[in-house]
């Protein structure tokens, strides 16, 4: 196929391929208005998300430790609680959950490390370049999330699967951040975290892990 033929094919695609019928723009506006202008007044201020994420990370750490303590009362419980920290400390403070089930251990660790990562994300683009550890951690957690999504633990728990799917989208964005991220990319991630209530859901999932082991 020559360039000219391809150009013709693409011109035809522009004219005919997936040319949408006009959607009900007025109905769509009603939905947008009800979501945008009602939820805006309820939206949590951005600065407090850091604190909530810190609290979530702490809860996850405590929950993991409590689970471990209940199951291994004879052993000392090395509870590792996480808090919003500089990026270079992400790995050392990652929450660990001690259980007999490797999948639960992986879920607990993922929840804790993700909570810490979310709390460590920049609130805005700045003159300082992004710590490369953040994107590396995002990529690592993305891989873990995808593995868990394809594992029985996600198949058996729809709520966990939904959470993992939402985390996957956010972590994919984090892993793709450039050294000097665009303001919109940061905002997009932060709003995805807020829109999907990721921090409270991380906390709930950690509580489930503590009480039920999923």
């Amino acid at each position: 196929m020559t360039d000219e033929e391809l150009d013709r094919w693409l011109a035809r695609a522009a004219r005919e391929w997936r040319l949408p019928e006009a959607p009900p723009f007025d109905d769509m506006w009603e939905t947008i208005a009800s979501r945008a202008f009602v939820s805006a007044s309820r939206r949590t201020p951005g600065w407090s998300v850091v604190g909530i994420a810190a609290a979530a990370a702490l809860v996850i750490g405590v929950a993991g430790g409590r689970t471990w303590t209940l199951r291994h009362a004879a052993r000392p419980a090395p509870i590792v609680a996480a808090a919003p920290v500089p990026a270079q400390n992400i790995l050392p403070v990652a929450t660990t959950v001690q259980t007999d089930n490797p999948a639960h251990h992986a879920v607990g660790e993922l929840l804790g490390r993700t909570a810490v990562l979310l709390a460590s994300l920049p609130r805005d683009s700045s003159a300082h370049p992004l710590d490369p550890q953040i994107t590396r951690e995002g990529a690592h957690l993305l891989t873990t999330t995808r593995l868990l999504l394809d594992s029985p633990v996600a198949e058996q728990d729809p709520r966990l699967r939904n959470l993992l799917e939402d985390l996957e989208l956010v972590l994919a964005q984090v892993a793709r951040l450039e050294a000097r991220p665009h303001h919109d990319d940061i905002q997009f991630i932060q709003s995805a975290v807020a829109d999907h209530d990721l921090v409270p859901r991380l906390r709930l999932a950690a509580e489930d892990l503590s009480t039920n082991g999923f």
């Binding site: 360039d3 391809l6 506006w29 919109d184």
Partner: protein, 202 residues
């Protein structure tokens, strides 16, 4: 009635909006001040193009509708943070592309699970039944492109964005946009080789 478009719009696309940017800024200022009518006017100005891009990317009217709604909810939620450093349209379309890609990733995972459960044959059958031959060939060839190439191809060759606009929307260099288009065209040529006679003769 179809939403009109042509790649020939390229010269009349986002850049023409430079004169409209001033109008956008006025509407943005009023919308931030709580003027719901101004927000609606912004939506009326841009919804059609956002929807069309979403539909071209997603290929599903319901999904495109959801994406369009999500885009505007997100944009209105962040309007106060819009710095005006880039044109509103660039920002809006950046959010639109990101939302499309995230939605597609989520849906493709879901579809993957459905296919696993229901067998791939049914989905292939539905595809053939829904689309005419040409549409089907285009859908298969374009959707088979890697995400990075597909976005640039759809934006440039199908929706008429310039490389400058694509670079601004995707946050990449203009040269990167051009090289991705080159790669997309190369892959399309291979994919369409078998269909060649049918479409050239048509």
């Amino acid at each position: 009635m179809p939403v009109s478009n042509s790649a020939a719009m390229r010269n009349a696309s986002l850049t023409v909006a430079s004169s409209a940017d001033h109008g956008d800024q006025l509407l943005i200022d009023r919308a931030i001040g709580g003027d719901r009518g101004a927000a609606r006017a912004l939506y009326d100005r841009h919804a059609e193009r956002v929807y069309r891009l979403a539909y071209r990317m997603c290929g599903d009217p319901e999904l495109a509708r959801d994406v369009t709604q999500d885009v505007f909810v997100r944009v209105f939620g962040q309007l106060q943070q819009f710095r005006g450093a880039s044109a509103f349209t660039t920002w809006l379309h950046r959010v639109a592309v990101n939302t499309c890609l995230n939605t597609l990733r989520k849906v493709s995972r879901w579809r993957h699970r459905e296919v696993e459960l229901d067998a791939a044959v049914e989905e292939a059958g539905a595809l053939v039944e829904r689309d005419p031959v040409l549409d089907r060939a285009m859908t298969i060839a374009i959707d088979a492109l890697p995400e990075q190439l597909r976005v640039v191809l759809v934006m440039y060759a199908i929706e008429g964005y310039t490389h400058g606009e694509i670079a601004a929307v995707l946050g990449i260099a203009e040269g990167t946009s051009k090289s991705r288009l080159f790669d997309a065209r190369a892959q399309l040529r291979v994919a369409l080789a078998a269909e060649r006679k049918e479409y050239v003769d048509d």
